[in-house]
Symmetry: C2
Subunit: 94 residues, 2 copies
């Protein structure tokens, strides 16, 4: 499901227009991004939490040439599913 | 920032009430969860995408006792940040 389909589905279940929904989604992700770029954790009830984590630098070895390259440290957004979501996923037969 | 603070902030920037915002957030995460439990990828523009991934079973060795335990396979929600978010994070000095 992409961004557009999500907006259509939300508009169907609400009495808001598609532009209004789109604006709200944009605003929500904007606030989440502001918090993340500010180094803060952001939690959404019964869904999960977002946090920026630092991945340390590491040595990467090219499998064929054996040449080593230093991969610099980087920041990534980490999502941790809520307990409720985790339990729902655990119900699925693997 | 927690769920409640996010709702307050969204209500401040909109002309919607807090219960309306809360309802929309719940509905959004509910749709995302439905898609995830259905094995589908869901993408949110300029933010990122969510996907359920299977973590294979693995042997865990207790550091003190050396006792090996088989950790069963499990499903986890994986979030992949968008290119725009990645670039913004890259601008932060490490």
């Amino acid at each position: 499901m992409n961004h557009k389909e999500l907006i259509v589905k939300l508009a169907e279940r609400n009495n808001l227009s598609k532009p209004e929904i789109e604006n709200l989604i944009d605003m929500t992700t904007m606030i989440i991004k502001e918090q993340l770029l500010d180094g803060k954790i952001i939690g959404i009830q019964s869904f999960g939490s977002f946090e920026v984590r630092k991945k340390e630098e590491r040595l990467s070895v090219h499998p064929a040439t054996q040449i080593r390259t230093l991969v610099p440290p980087k920041l990534v957004v980490n999502f941790k599913q809520s307990t409720i979501l985790k339990e729902k996923l655990n119900e699925i037969k693997l």
